[in-house]
């Protein structure tokens, strides 16, 4: 098995074979239209070990971790955890962080809660 596919499976704890391809995850996703690879496709990409396309996908940074897909999946597949694991695989690599320290000052404003920065750091950086 492809090493990265195996890693994504392990980190996410998701068994893609449970998926019955109903599309409810995509139907629930608030970011659906922003995504190039749709939530339900993540499952088959991992199943088919097409990891190259997956890690290059901009969907990794569109997922909100809102857990709507996880909540509603009738088969307990957790597509959101899969997307998160794919993002982890990327940002854990050197030089692959999605948020650099340099760009932060420009993104800040006075009202912005610490929580937002913390969360973004956790999601976008190693």
């Amino acid at each position: 098995m492809n090493k990265q596919a195996e890693l994504i499976r392990q980190v996410s704890g998701v068994e893609p074979l449970k998926c019955m391809k109903c599309g409810k995850c995509s139907a629930s996703c608030p970011s659906y239209e922003e995504m190039d690879i749709k939530p339900h496709q993540f499952v088959s990409y991992v199943q088919n070990e097409d990891i190259e396309a997956l890690v290059a996908s901009k969907s990794l940074y569109k997922c909100l971790s809102c857990f709507a897909c996880i909540e509603r999946c009738p088969r307990g597949v957790k597509p959101g955890a899969l997307i998160d694991a794919a993002r982890q695989v990327v940002v854990r690599q050197r030089g692959q962080q999605y948020l650099s320290a340099d760009e932060i000052p420009a993104l800040l404003d006075d009202e912005m809660p610490q929580q937002l920065l913390m969360s973004a750091f956790r999601k976008y950086r190693r």
Binding site: S65, A68, Q88, E111
Partner: protein, 261 residues
């Protein structure tokens, strides 16, 4: 009754109000929030990766500290509550995480998810009781039409959070009713505000908040109430309706708003 209290980073800075009102209301309602000494930031998001341990440790420390005191652990911020509750669930049910986290911590008495994590709203519902709360209201918010905004973190995943029906919650509506106002039920109340994505994807978060505001406004809400500083921030960027913390409403109704500040 005394609870261990985990305020979280934002309640110490941008969301001071959320914290102050919570403490004042607690006193008014006859319970005490005892802040944990040396708490560390929960990280804002729950680390979904099954191999992530270090990022869960601040939560484990807080949970264990509450266990040492024999108290339930209360959070007010949705994100802190979410992270604490999920880490606690891991510590109780996921053997691998339990073992590895305890190995890191090197505790004499390993932590196995013994602490009960409560959101301030749960204390109101399950410990104080909304009927009891209603009796303590001195300045009912009569005539106000308030939309409850839950967001994601309080509710999902429903099985772990066990907070309310994740698809059709009612705790905030009951809360609003207890304060004498009229709750406005609208379908986007459990849809995401955009969360952390607003840092780099302002437009995407903005469109989500617009949908929420439009839906609430359409059903007649004149303001939204939330428990999450990030939700409040994101919703405020849309600005179609005013957004307040639930503790502020509570303080107002209990007549302790001025005392708090």
């Amino acid at each position: 009754m005394t609870y261990s209290y985990y305020p979280g980073c934002t309640l110490r800075t941008k969301a001071r109000d959320l914290d102050k009102y919570a403490r004042a209301c607690a006193e008014a309602l006859g319970f005490t929030l005892e802040e944990l000494p040396d708490w560390q930031c929960c990280g804002g998001v729950y680390p979904l990766g099954t191999d992530e341990i270090a990022s869960k440790l601040p939560s484990v420390r807080a949970l264990d500290a509450a266990k040492q005191k024999g108290q339930d652990l209360v959070a007010v911020c949705s994100a802190c509550y979410h992270v604490l509750k999920r880490v606690n669930d891991d510590m109780a049910n996921v053997e691998d995480i339990q073992t590895r986290a305890n190995n890191y911590m090197g505790l004499e008495d390993p932590y196995k998810g013994e602490t009960k994590v409560l959101h301030f709203l749960e204390v109101l519902r399950d410990r104080v009781g909304f009927d009891e709360l209603k009796k303590k209201v001195v300045a009912p918010l009569t005539g106000r039409k308030i939309g409850a905004y839950y967001g994601c973190l309080l509710l999902r995943p429903g099985k772990v959070m066990g907070f309310d029906d994740p698809e059709d919650p009612k705790i905030l509506e009951d809360f609003i009713r207890a304060l004498g106002a009229e709750p406005v039920v609208y379908p986007y109340r459990n849809e995401c505000c955009g969360g952390y994505i607003s840092l780099k994807e302002k437009a995407l978060a903005g469109s989500m908040c617009d949908k929420i505001m439009d839906s609430a406004g359409g059903f007649g809400a004149d303001c939204l109430v939330t428990a999450c500083p990030l939700c409040k921030y994101n919703l405020n960027q849309s600005g179609k309706l005013p957004v307040v913390y639930f503790t502020e409403l509570l303080a107002e109704a209990l007549g302790v708003k001025e005392v708090a500040l």
